[in-house]
Amino acid sequence: MSPVNYLYLAALLFTIGAVGVLIRRNAIVVFMCIELMLNACNLALVAFSRMHGNLDGQIIAFFTMVVAAAEVVVGLAIIVSLFRSRHSASVDDASLMKL
């Protein structure tokens, strides 16, 4: 089997995550889907680093994780405060983009 399959898998996961982001209303779940997408990217990166035989890919994946961590922390904080103020974690409820 060729390691390219890992890329296919990553692409699949990424797509699933993206669709999830689009169809779920619960902010938390949306967030999870985003994480899923990030992970898919990481997988691709790792696979690449294996293919090219250097560790830069892994480094990038590592950074992705760090950033993801930071992002999750802030994002969840936002969700919590949102929930406090509106008693709901639905993305649509937070539709303040339209006046």
Partner: protein, 631 residues
Amino acid sequence: MENLIALLVAAPLLGAAVLLCGGRRLDRSGHWLGTVLAAASFVIGVVLFLDMLGRSADDRALHQHLFSWIPVEGFQADIAFQLDQLSMTFVLLITGVGTLIHVYSIAYMEHDERRRRFFGYLNLFLAAMLLLVIADNYLLLYFGWEGVGLASYLLIGFWQHKPSAATAAKKAFLVNRVGDIGLSIAIMLMFTTFGTFAFGPVLSSVGETGEGTLTAIGLMLLLAACGKSAQVPLQSWLGDAMEGPTPVSALIHAATMVTAGVYLIVRSGAIFNAAPNAQLAVVVVGAVTLLFGAIVGCAKDDIKKALAGSTMSQIGYMILAAGLGPIGYVFAIMHLVTHGFFKAGLFLGAGSVMHGMNDEVDMRKYGGLRTYMPVTFVTFGLGYLAIIGFPGLSGFFSKDKIIESAFAKGGAEGWILGGVALLGAAITAFYMTRVMLMTFFGEKRWQPDAEGQPPHPHESPKSMTIPMVILAFGSVFAGGFFSIGDRFLNWLEPVTGYDHGHAPISAATVTGATVVVLLIGVFLAWAMYGRRPVPVTAPRGSLLTRAARRDLLQDDFNHVVLVRGGEHLTRSLVYVDHTLVDGVVNGTAASVGGLSGRLRKLQNGYARSYAVSMFGGTAVLIAVTLLMRAV
């Protein structure tokens, strides 16, 4: 000596400036200043005249170049003056009559709190009129031409609180503007044809261009003359112009301004001589107006309007003469001068009558005034005799000469024109007699005025009668003085040229015929107005009479066709502008607005639908890149 020329204009101009900007502090002395400056201008004129007499006939013209007015590449308009015999004649007439009327106005306008401004306007008029006649190129003439138009606008509408006066002023200016189109187009034609519009070069190089161009120029000049001199079809303003104070009617609308058209044609004689068709048009216009004015004059009960009609008709004579070419130029000007005297005198007389009759203008409410205002009666009577061409008085000589030269035109044309001129003479005699009788003879038909004051007619003060007397002198003796030994002919001939034409009938016959028709006219008038009492309220009268009372329906025509039509046109255009032109613009704006409104619906504010679009966009991008790679 030629440096004096500018002073002719400068003096009254200064007066106008001072009086109009001077403010109230001049209210008490202003009219004296105005009169003095007018007189000064007259004096300068006389000085120049004497100087001119001192020189031989062919180098009498004086030139003065002040400065270059509009210097543009290939276009030179100068502020420059030319004073030849023709101009000199006008200068003397204008300043002389003008000064007299200034004097007259001092008393006439005494009770008007805006007398200072009145004199300012009068001076302005003098300046403009002088500029008109001493200009040495057509553009400067145009300057004066419009200037007198402005002055007449201001003076006709002097009593602006009267809507009729304001309207009349506006009408006069507009009709004149129509004529001005003619003048400016004529100037443009000259410029494109000769590259200049100074009198000298243009008139001297007439021969080098085709007759077509000259005819066009001639017709355009004629149009201008019609506007200024109230000739058919642009005569309609003159009657209404009588709304102005009587001195104004005397000076501007009888003696001087309205004759500017004649001056223009005579001045441009060279052009007309080379363009027979244009000349024909001129004589036709003259003949028509001659009768038109006379007929109108017969029907008017308003003394000033009747006189206005006669003015129209007399100028018709002049135009007719001017249209005859070298045969008639001199006599046109001669009649112009004599007419200046007696018509001004008549108007001043009419003013004096109105002065005594609580500004009543309806002759049917006069009657039997001769005993109450003898001086007025005498002077007016002399003017009357002069205008009807009573043998021996000015009018007789000048008009008779015109009729002769009309016959002298020769051929059928000559007969027709001569006949018309004779007929005109008859009608003139008729309506002038009518005026005379209705005003000074018969029983009193006085009516109390608006305040119920019965009029108590009285002779006017000296400052009014003296000018009248002087003018009466002029109207008695001027003609004779000019004609004896052809003084006037010799005086003007170097400028205008002269030829005898070939009269089919002897001068004596013509004179005889003139006298006969004159007597017929007088008799008819006496029969109608002298024998039986004149009803106070005008009888319905024949169809012609009624038409004549309404200026032969000219005004109604104007009203229906021009005014109404214009109103409809403008109103519809306003509508079009608002709905169509602006509508297209606003429509575009609205459609854009609608589109954006529709697009706005896409912005539903849900983060997820935005995400979908982003996601789809990404997909599209990938597809594009792949395709690019593929191809």
